[in-house]
Homo-oligomer: 313 residues x 2
């Protein structure tokens, strides 16, 4: 891979958090370390490594603090953790994470079902987490990701005004950025463009990442749509792990390998080496034997004559 000055897009790998908490099996801690090392070796520089939730609820995340401590040894890596509440934020900050992400649902029904809090209560929780952060770790940015931004399996449509309102509220509560998540795989490209434009009109450069799912096959098209309207940060999961798959073959999260291939083929530098990225599937599969993996690019291989970094811009 040729030298590149700096990536044009940030790919944030969420597999060790979003992926691992969605599967029943628990990946041993040592295997998590190997997998994260392989992701880092491929060039990923932001990884959501864990979720700080009670181990009785998510045994897959019981070693969150250990995983964070290991990830902190990798130079230049932004170590991100999901925290659903203040208690999780305390633990994550104590472990030394570089960045926090808080899921805040635009769907009232989903908010109650997912975190047993209203949207207003979650805005207050963001405010509390920001206050804690200001006190104990003022350099750690807080992201509040708007879940069910494009639709909800419980309530159906989610009003775009609700999404814009919530994004504005969490920024006012002190979060540094707010991204949009297609938690339920209901987004379409026209909606993605429209909603990101509306959110940017409201919160400007505090607009965060696009977190797209591939539930109905539109994951990459939705990422392209977000890219077209100026989004430059994308969540993705190696091998498409996680994201509430409905059925075998119907992966949830956008597949990191396919997303990176799309951008690199377009001439958009990701900073990630595709061959090493595909190689990072091996420690994932070793740590989760028998778990289904997704991704078209790894199956098909890179195209004949494909030279990363050589594409038109």
């Amino acid at each position: 891979m040729p030298d590149t000055p700096s990536p044009a897009v940030l790919i944030s790998e969420v597999g060790p958090r979003d992926g691992l908490q969605s599967v029943k099996a628990v990946m041993p801690t040592a295997d998590k370390f190997k997998w994260i090392d392989a992701l880092y070796a491929a060039g990923l520089r932001e990884i959501e490594v864990a979720s700080f939730v009670p181990a009785r609820l998510l045994p897959q995340m019981a070693d969150a603090a250990d995983v964070v401590r290991h990830a902190l040894t990798l130079p230049g890596l932004t170590v991100l953790a999901l925290v659903p509440n203040l208690r999780g934020a305390q633990a994550a900050l104590a472990a030394g994470v570089h960045k926090l992400t808080i899921p805040v649902s635009a769907s009232a029904a989903h908010s109650l079902a997912n975190v047993r809090k209203t949207r207003e209560e979650m805005i207050a929780e963001v405010r509390n987490i920001v206050a804690l952060r200001n006190e104990v770790a003022p350099s750690v940015p807080v992201e509040a990701g708007i879940a069910t931004a494009f639709g909800c399996t419980l309530q159906g449509e989610v009003r775009e005004d609700d999404v814009v309102w919530l994004a504005t509220q969490v920024i006012e509560a002190g979060a540094e950025e707010s991204g949009l998540s297609d938690t339920t795989g209901m987004a379409n490209p026209a909606q993605v463009r429209r909603l990101f434009n509306k959110v940017r009109a409201a919160i400007g450069e505090r607009t965060g990442a696009a977190h797209m799912h591939n539930t109905r096959g539109l994951g990459l098209a939705n990422c392209l749509a977000a890219w077209d309207v100026g989004v430059r940060a994308f969540d993705a999961s190696l091998a498409g792990l996680g994201g509430c798959p409905f059925a075998p073959g119907a992966s949830g999260n956008v597949v990191t390998e396919d997303l990176v291939f799309m951008f690199e083929a377009m001439g958009v530098r990701t900073g990630i080496d595709l061959e090493q990225l595909i190689a990072a599937r091996a420690p994932l599969m070793a740590g989760l034997p028998g778990e289904p993996v997704y991704g078209m690019t790894p199956q098909a291989g890179l195209p004949k004559g494909f030279v990363q970094g050589a594409a038109h811009v």
Copy 2:
């Protein structure tokens, strides 16, 4: 589905040709009839029903004339057939097709491997087919689809100038339109936009359909890219049948169900009823027992609250 004045996009179903000739099993003629009837019932109004090639080469297509005759009984359906040469065109026109499509490869290496003709010889073949058409069926349009327009598994890169040159040549040879095919699944959205713009600059409104593959997961993103630059006709295959899959799970052709869902969710009318389209998988599976089928939307189902035709435009 609400009444719609007319579709904003033409989805051309290629499964009965591209799909069936790519699988080893031979679908019985009666099953082909049922499948085509179901596709028509879902609202598809252009179907590539057969390939007119010698039965010893493609036994799957031995009943091409019978299939055409059946499809001709469906009112308002454009019955399309692929013909690789003059002999095929003679048989297809004798059977009464409404439209011919001729594959012409932009890759010199692929052209020789696929049809044992140079690109120049294929341009001459287009001219011969047009002359025949002018004589025996002057109202039948001829499309020349540029295969390997975005890259070739044999020669690697295909020069964009070659694609523009070939599209210009086949139009000069008398073809009514020329579309672009990502035969090898190597296209990316930036390339799709650039190349369709170049081809349109050369042949204007004679620019034909986008025929995209999902080999590396970019099928829908590439269709979106083509839509963005004004393409309004798309080939797709029900259940992703055909298109040279590399491996299980790695479907070749863009899945009709997912493509129609994307457009309808965007508020772009296709004229196709999604539920009936998904129901058209049953006769396909009945006619090809055990054959793998693809498609994320059929697996996940339509989103809660999704009303076709109700989306924003």
